[in-house]
């Protein structure tokens, strides 16, 4: 067997600029036993690719081999839907296994899966509720620029819906993420937790909302670092009320005390 030039690249181009598919060693003359490394589904492609530098476009070949079949299947679906009961049974099993798995692992990725909303409840002893102030929301964040000027930036300037701005102003500014992050992570079973940690940082603690808010405002308004109008600080103030469990149990909500809270939003220094 001839000498094989080892290459681990998945795609490479020959002298004529033709893309070649190669997942194993690429040989000058004959095909090596590299096909054993390739999944069966790609067997044909591998054979084509490892038999030297073939003067054909592998992608075209792949389409000739697989494309019409896939296209025909898709067109059949478009034209008719499933025609065999066995196929439907397999589809239904797959569909329900997928749905149940997602519920078990609590994966919240529209449109594939969902995690039930409003399951969490954190107000058992003290319920902290924000008290709306539309005028304040319309006015928006009080921002300070690099030049030291102050101005207000509201939903109109940022061109975001009022409901989204309310969340930015009363939740993200106060370090509170969207409920989705709690839904996905709170009281997860250990297996799901381990799987989740393989792919993502815990969004409940891993996101610096203040930096994101400042970035969002600066990028939206095309303000670059170094510009005098670059936003370096934003302030949000809002009224909240605390309602204890005892008060809620009695049902007497006539005497709620209000508390003003302020969030000073600056970038975290690395």
């Amino acid at each position: 067997m001839g000498h094989c030039a080892a290459s681990s690249r998945a795609l490479r181009r020959d002298k004529r600029g033709v893309t070649l598919w190669s997942t194993g060693p690429v040989c000058g003359d004959r095909g090596p036993a590299a096909s054993s490394l390739i999944p069966v589904a790609f067997g044909d492609l591998n054979r084509l690719a490892t038999f030297g530098e073939l003067p054909i476009n592998i992608e075209q070949k792949a389409f000739q081999v697989y494309g019409p079949n896939l296209r025909a299947r898709f067109m059949r679906l478009l034209a008719g839907g499933f025609v065999k009961k066995k196929t439907v049974t397999k589809f239904l099993i797959g569909f329900h296994v997928f749905t149940l798995d997602a519920v078990f692992f609590r994966v919240d990725t529209f449109p594939l899966t969902w995690v039930p909303m409003y399951s969490q409840f954190h107000g058992q002893t003290q319920l902290v509720v924000l008290v709306g102030d539309k005028a304040k929301l319309r006015k928006g964040f009080e921002i300070t620029t690099a030049a030291g000027e102050t101005e207000f930036i509201g939903p109109k300037t940022l061109n975001v819906p009022n409901a989204a701005f309310r969340r930015l102003y009363t939740e993200r500014a106060f370090g509170k993420g969207p409920p989705k992050h709690l839904r996905e992570r709170e009281r997860l079973n250990p297996l799901s937790d381990a799987v989740f940690n393989l792919f993502y940082e815990d969004p409940r603690t891993g996101i610096d909302w203040h930096s994101r808010l400042l970035d969002m405002m600066n990028k939206t308004l095309d303000r670059e670092p170094g510009d005098p109008d670059y936003i370096v600080q934003a302030i949000a103030t809002y009224e909240f009320t605390n309602v204890s469990r005892e008060t809620r149990r009695t049902g007497d909500l006539s005497d709620l005390s209000l508390e003003m809270r302020t969030a000073v939003i600056t970038k975290r220094t690395p």
């Binding site: 839907g81 439907v88 749905t99 409840f121 109109k156 989204a164 989705k180 994101r212």
Partner: protein, 317 residues
């Protein structure tokens, strides 16, 4: 009878019986009509944004926006996409180019929902069930009955199993949506969720105080929700009823009786309407998905009789 046969029979009874081609076609048309109204309730805030306004940088793009590298809102694109979505919904409803319409509809929903949810990162679930229904319709023969696509064509008759599986799967998905919700509440928070000082009362207080107090100390909007929060036993009863409804909802899949379906639908519809009135949860048009629980073949027949449509497969022609 062997165990395998029993399972097979139960499976066949559950997924492959009960509906005809007319049921499937008419259901497609009615779900399409419901979707038309539903879309209007879902995106008014996004459509009201200034087309020439700032291109907002998303604070947390929805996962597929992140994969596609979409990090900025393009405000002028919302209205054309919405119009395209409405046109695709009409085509889906009347059964013209049904399958391609489903694909277009799906892309438009993903885009507009992505825009809405990426501004602040809150992901809403209002399209989970409708999109799953579209997915099931895509793999079914819904375009071969009661559809413009069927005009002048002689499709073979749709067998009972072919018409039943998408409808039964849709029903299962809808019911499990409620069932998993109560399981999650019980598992994560426990019975305290339904208690007198539980989540329902907390949400009533939160949502009614969203608009704040007036100068005289009165709650500005949804004062009735705030008043209701003070009646702890009524709130508790409501919570208990919600728990019972959700826990027992899977029974409607097994008891194939009209009274069970009507009871379930009354429970679900009151739940959604109350959620909207008391808590401003924008699910009030959602009960249109409950068409799936009725055999809509009668609707197709009535339509054909009224408009003198001769080809049993076609409609609106």
């Amino acid at each position: 009878m062997s165990r395998e046969n029993k399972i097979e029979r139960a499976w066949n009874w559950y997924f492959y019986t009960g509906y005809s081609g007319d049921s499937l076609g008419a259901l497609r048309a009615l779900i399409g009509a419901g979707l038309l109204l539903y879309h209007i309730t879902q995106f008014p805030h996004v459509l009201a944004l200034s087309s020439s306004g700032a291109h907002t940088h998303y604070i947390e793009p929805i996962w597929y926006f992140e994969y596609l590298g979409i990090s900025t809102h393009i405000p002028w694109l919302n209205i054309p996409i919405f119009i395209l979505m409405m046109v695709a919904t009409i085509f889906f409803m009347i059964g013209k180019w049904t399958k391609p319409s489903i694909l277009v509809l799906f892309i438009c929903i993903c885009y507009l929902k992505g825009v809405r949810d990426s501004f602040a990162g809150d992901v809403h679930h209002r399209y989970i069930v409708p999109v799953t229904l579209l997915f099931l319709f895509f793999f079914s023969k819904c375009h071969q009955r009661f559809a413009v696509d069927a005009k002048g064509k002689t499709y073979p008759a749709i067998e009972e199993w072919e018409a039943s599986w998408p409808i039964r799967t849709a029903q299962t998905y809808i019911v499990l949506y409620y069932f998993w919700a109560v399981v999650a509440k019980l598992r994560i928070t426990g019975w305290e969720w339904f208690d007198t000082a539980g989540q329902i009362q907390a949400k009533l207080i939160e949502r009614s105080l969203r608009s704040g107090f007036g100068p005289d100390g009165e709650v500005l909007r949804r004062a009735y929700a705030f008043d209701l929060a003070e009646h702890v036993w009524i709130v508790f009863t409501m919570g208990a009823l919600v728990a019972l409804f959700k826990l027992f909802s899977p029974l409607v899949l097994i008891i194939r009786r009209n009274w069970a379906t009507v009871l379930f639908l009354l429970g679900a519809a009151s739940f959604h309407v109350a959620n909207f009135i008391l808590l401003n949860v924008q699910f009030f048009m959602y009960p249109f998905v409950f068409f799936s629980f009725f055999n809509m073949a009668w609707f197709a027949r009535k339509y054909r009789d009224k408009y003198g449509v001769k080809n049993p497969a076609s409609a609106l022609t």
